[in-house]
Point group: C2
Chain length 230, copies 2
Amino acid sequence: MNAPTPLPLGHSKAPSATRGVADRLRQAIISMEFPPGTRLSEGEIATRYDVSRQPVREALISLSRIGLVQVLPQRGTIVTRISTRHMMQVRIAREALESAIVQRACERFDPVIRGSIDAILETQARAASEGDYMTITAADSQFHAALATGADCEMIWQMVLDVKAHMDRVRHLTLQDRDSMRILVEQHRAIVDAIDQRDPEKADYAMRHHLMEILRDLPRVLAERADYFE
Amino acid sequence: MNAPTPLPLGHSKAPSATRGVADRLRQAIISMEFPPGTRLSEGEIATRYDVSRQPVREALISLSRIGLVQVLPQRGTIVTRISTRHMMQVRIAREALESAIVQRACERFDPVIRGSIDAILETQARAASEGDYMTITAADSQFHAALATGADCEMIWQMVLDVKAHMDRVRHLTLQDRDSMRILVEQHRAIVDAIDQRDPEKADYAMRHHLMEILRDLPRVLAERADYFE
DNA sequence: CCTCTTGATCTACCATACAAGTCCATACTA
DNA sequence: TAGTATGGACTTGTATGGTAGATCAAGAGG
């Protein structure tokens, strides 16, 4: 609280318990291990992950900021249910942010990262032909992250990650066939092509078209698993 | 962690200490009471606000997610310094999000909220002619919030609030004269006009033009207060 | 003068104990 | 039977003590 002290920086890489619990919980929620509506108890999670209640509590605070869980004071914590209204806003937000990213990418893009993207796309194409869902998903995340990093939009990418969590959760409910996987890769290629051509409008269109696809099956999921929705 | 239980809802409105500390700290940082680079200590803030360290800690976690503070494990917590690179991304993100909001507002907008906006603008116009900075700022926030709410984008507004905090902090460093206040109100009117006319392109342009204005004086501040930047 | 060690003193982190609110089954009452 | 207390078993919220890690200053040794 005193005078602005430089506070010298040295790097520490100790993985805190809070961070660990947050990551595990986040993954568990996105992967539907804890489906929407699941009641989470600080104490229960603490014993399960073998930490005290405090790190769990702090992890839940972070997740509640993203909107993955809802903390109801003195009453409990639940995994947030899916709402079409919320998902609509999530889609709008992600479209807006990622569209801005690719448009900026058309202005300037780190050539080194540009090179690494080819490798990502190749990995993804191979995984698509093999129907390797895990690799596809990982590469997809890497692709979008590389776009943001290359366009010098790392902070915006952090925001995208938050809304992306909601979309990933829905995507885990929709089975992906190989055709849709191949389409995914083609859409990625279209985005990169537009950036290479320095064509903002084309990049914008390609990205929005790509993101629109993801929530295509939301109505069907709603019909099948109404208990996941609110 | 069990079966998805409905978890009946009843309303509680207890203002938690954590929330209180978070709000006060947030305000203190934005208003430059705690300028960039200020060292914050959990214990010190706890005694100052007369709560224990735990609520303070949780509040700091929330603020660190927004990016207003940086928690360095085992070393300390500081109020984040301003970086032009970060502010560039903040501007891009806010433009993208609020542009999306007004474009959606052109499709559908709650008529009741539309009515309330006139009152906000009138309040703001009066405050502008009187040079009432506090009222201007409050009304500005209300205006943008009303746009988001009317367009049914409340979740997106939450995201905007986070990036807006950074812009508000910078704005606190730039003195506002009455002319720029009047311009502000006119820009708000232009946005509303475009929405009334259901003209997405016009609304988009008006919003981006409005937001661009805010960071106009950033270079000057950088020159004057280099110690606030990194 | 420079380098390294050492220990005092900070910090955030984590665990534990306690407080307070909510819900629900049960028993009591009219 | 219907309605209402009541007590206990949850929940999250808050307070506090202890721990490990980081920094820094003083001093020893070269």
